[in-house]
Amino acid sequence: MLGFQLLQTLGAQGVDRLGDWNPQLLREWKGRLKRFPVLAAIGISLLVQGVLMLSSVSMLPGPVVSKDLVVSTYPQFRWDGIAALDSALQPEVTLPDGQTLTLTSSILVERLDQQSPIGGDLAAGEQALQQLQIGDRLIAINGEPVIFNTDDERQQLSFHVNQRITNQLSPISVDSGQGFRDSVELTLLRPDQELFMVSLPRITLTNHHNRYCLYGDSYQGCDVTPDGQFYQIDWRKWYGDGFWAITVAMVFSLMGIGVFLLGSNLAEEKRRGTLNFIRLSPRSAANILAGKLLGVPVCLYLAIALALPLHGFLGLGAGYSIGHGLGLYGAIASQTVVFYLAALLVSLCITHPMLLGLQPWLMAAGVTLFQWIVLVALELPWGLPHIDASGAWLWSVFFSPLVSLAYFAPLTDAAYYEKVVDNLALGLFRINFAEYTVLTVLHAMGWTYLLGQASVRRFRQATRPLLPRALSYGLTLGVMAVLLGLTETDANAYYLDEHLTAIVCLFLVYFTLLTLSLVCDRQTLQDWARFRHTRPKHIRMALWKDLLWGEESSPLLAIALNLLMATILFVGWFFWNYGDRMDTPEALQVFALIVAMAVGSLFFATLASQVVLLLPRKKNGFWFGATSSISAVAFPCLTALLVIAQAEFYPHITTLLGMESELGLFTLTVGLMAMVTTGLGFCHYRQLAISGRSELQHLLKGAS
């Protein structure tokens, strides 16, 4: 109780008030702020910070050592290709064997680098630099004409020329300081001048490379301090990387460990049965769930809070403003709440004893994997700040606080990447960090409202649908608006397939979640069928209203209406953007059949799952899931198989039902699906009718 006693000592009255406001929070704190967990949280936090800092320090370049040094000249050259010499300029040179040769081509000076030397006659070098200019042509090194005969030499010209120059210099030892008076003489030609000679002093340079070095223009090696003992360090980048590392560790801990703790706590409460007591108390579900959310991961919060001073220090060191930091914390906090609420909701929904044990692990693994995918998709580990997503996929980035890190590229990198960190590309838009933070927080608030509603409903009554049907219609409109709107920002016929894939995949995910949120359990449906007519008239709705707005009736009509709304929006959007592609009746036919197949399959899957739900069998959840999944893909697979079989075995059949054979097969399977759906619909109606019979009717009709 170390932590809790400390809290009580600090403010007994405050703790008491806190407990009055949220007893669940106080209970969780009392249960968790004990000696061992608190010390463990502090220890782990400090250990992780220590390891990260040690690892960061170990990545610094350290002092200059002799193995990093190379012999070079001052200045250093970068050479261009071999260029032909004008006949008037072609010099005659004498080879070492005494032969005379007329040079028809020479090598151009492309660039002159001035990397700071560790040692050498810098003054002589500066003097040589005065004589040189870009465009000079190299004729000879120490009187030896520069001629390249092999292809390899020509291909890596600059490297080989520089190698020939340094080969003229005797090897040196920096430590002994010997040989610094050596130099090499280059014979150069300038179009408006005679041949001239330049004497280059021999110097030592470092060829050490490190992420945290400051580089001159040459980027050939780290810059060194004036005394030549140490490398010059880009501290902002180092601080920035430390800031990144702690942020990523923070996000993964919050998401992985936090979700695990919440899932595990709810599973434990369910196993013990204590959740029922809390349910029956007069406290609101929101109050209790908030207590869980703030209380269960309290040791994790403590560990993260301990990392905040170092995090802030590194951020300030990297040159980020306090506003940026607060925005980042806002984004992380809001997204964490979304994932925690989702974890609470899933935990409240799972009742199977075997899944109760697995649930925390599965949820934590799922969330961590998602964050990792986002991290990789954003290419953040490589320090490249951009969001590699377009169209509807762009939505996924708002589910990860790691996206914020795109704005936290080290400022030196930001200069390299043309200041993209100021305005991050988001589809067609360019949003700055403030806009990003506001968008993220608003987005998270929307999900918090939805997940909070669903959690509260499920907490109060385990059989209640997660969402009211009235809300589902608005939600579908909103989701379609986001999906199509994001695609619209990048609407390009060239990427049509990609966009459609993104829309279909994300809509499928949404539709699955929506269906799970609207379906009732078997008991509720049976009771609705049996006792609907016994309800007092003043509270009994008309059947169609009951089906569309009620919560205990069959959800099929509501799900169909949601599908219809989504389809209308999608078709409208498609014709708005790609209507010109529908210029033939065949194209329209294909489009209509594809839409009918997709929408029909989804409805068929829902209907089949409802039929299975009302069958008196055990493991209903398993059958519900299996039937839905299989039904959803049954007809598209059948169509594909028929098309393949026709092409394989009956290639001579080119028309079917007066259409192309593939189109004819498509039409046939859509027709078949319509028939089976109608049959299944009738079957479902019969199930409800039988469920609606009284005991006496059951006895009389012999049905059970």
């Binding site: 106080l26 049996r530 006792f531």
Partner: protein
């Protein structure tokens, strides 16, 4: 004005799948009563208590608590505070101390400041556990845990207390303690509904009983009426004189039937349908008739005998 009704149900029905666990139960329980729910396993006692506690929603029907309708889908916190529910299997937070556990529930029920502390002290006194207030729950015996459960249930001073098999698994002394605690609660004006298979306890505690069978409430009456209606009284008499004289002296009384005589011991047993005054009248007439009695007492069918006599069966 008659006594106020604490709980009233109207056509209360609950289905599990297609099986009816409760069938149109119309129940009325007077305020301040200790109401016993009796019935074989699966008769619907626990379901009825769960519905009253708002732990389940009825399929059909309505429940009124002190005249106000309960709605488990949209529970009214004010009404929730009037209910205390102790289910058959009540799990506890084993990692908490007795005090912290009660403190947590007191806060859940909006008890604040001194009121909360006094309430915790009171319920600990009530269930005789003040000496254990700093003990971890895991260290308590089963009987103590049962009493702690009761303390938790009454910490917010509910007007209605619902107890499902509260004494199952307790030893006789623990049961006695528990009964005493229930009596104390009744003294505070709390209406208590108990479901139990230990009918002797119910007979000792209850002022009214309801008998459930196959989800039907087959009896809902005061204990006295039940005894009168279904229970049988016997007069047991012994004489040192002639058994035939005694038998003859009893013949004028219409309340006495089915006389069985044992001449060897001089004992007579007879069914008696009168009340205490009528029994006294019988005794007076026998004394006046100079029958040399050495024994005269009246026995009553126990609640268990009445229950068995009704012929309950386990639902299948």
């Amino acid at each position: 004005m008659g006594t106020a009704t604490a709980i009233r149900t109207q056509s209360l029905t609950k289905r599990f799948d297609r099986a009816l666990a409760l069938r149109s139960v119309d129940l009325e329980i007077e305020a301040g009563a200790i109401y016993g729910l009796i019935g074989p396993n699966g008769a619907g006692k626990t379901t009825l208590l769960r519905l009253l506690a708002m732990a389940e929603s009825p399929t059909v029907g309505e429940i009124y608590l002190n005249g106000e309708k309960l709605d488990s889908r949209h529970p009214n916190p004010r009404l929730q505070r009037q209910i205390g529910y102790l289910p058959d299997d009540f799990p506890l937070y084993e990692d908490l101390t007795v005090w912290d556990y009660l403190d947590y529930f007191a806060r859940l029920y909006h008890l604040q400041g001194k009121a909360r502390i006094n309430s915790i002290h009171d319920v600990l006194e009530l269930v005789n556990l003040p000496h254990k207030r700093h003990s971890l729950i895991t260290q308590l015996s089963r009987g103590m845990k049962q009493r702690l459960g009761l303390a938790r249930t009454v910490i917010h001073t509910p007007t209605v207390l619902l107890l499902d098999e509260p004494v199952s698994g307790l030893d006789p002394i623990a049961r006695q303690d528990f009964r005493q605690a229930i009596r104390n609660l009744q003294g505070l004006g709390i209406t208590v509904v108990i479901s139990s298979h230990v009918l002797s306890d119910l007979a000792e505690l209850c002022t009214a009983v309801g008998i459930l069978e196959f989800g039907y409430l087959v009896e809902n009456t005061s204990l006295a009426s039940l005894y009168q209606k279904l229970g049988q009284q016997k007069l047991v008499m012994g004489t040192r004189g002639s058994v035939a004289d005694l038998q003859a002296a009893l013949e004028p009384f219409k309340t006495i039937t089915d006389i069985q005589a044992d001449p060897a011991s001089g004992q007579i047993q007879a069914q008696f349908s009168g009340d205490a005054d009528q029994a006294a009248e019988v005794l007076r007439s026998l004394v006046e008739a100079r029958i040399p009695l050495y024994d005269f007492h009246c026995t009553q069918d126990s609640l268990e005998e009445i229950f068995v006599k009704i012929g309950h069966t386990q639902p299948t």
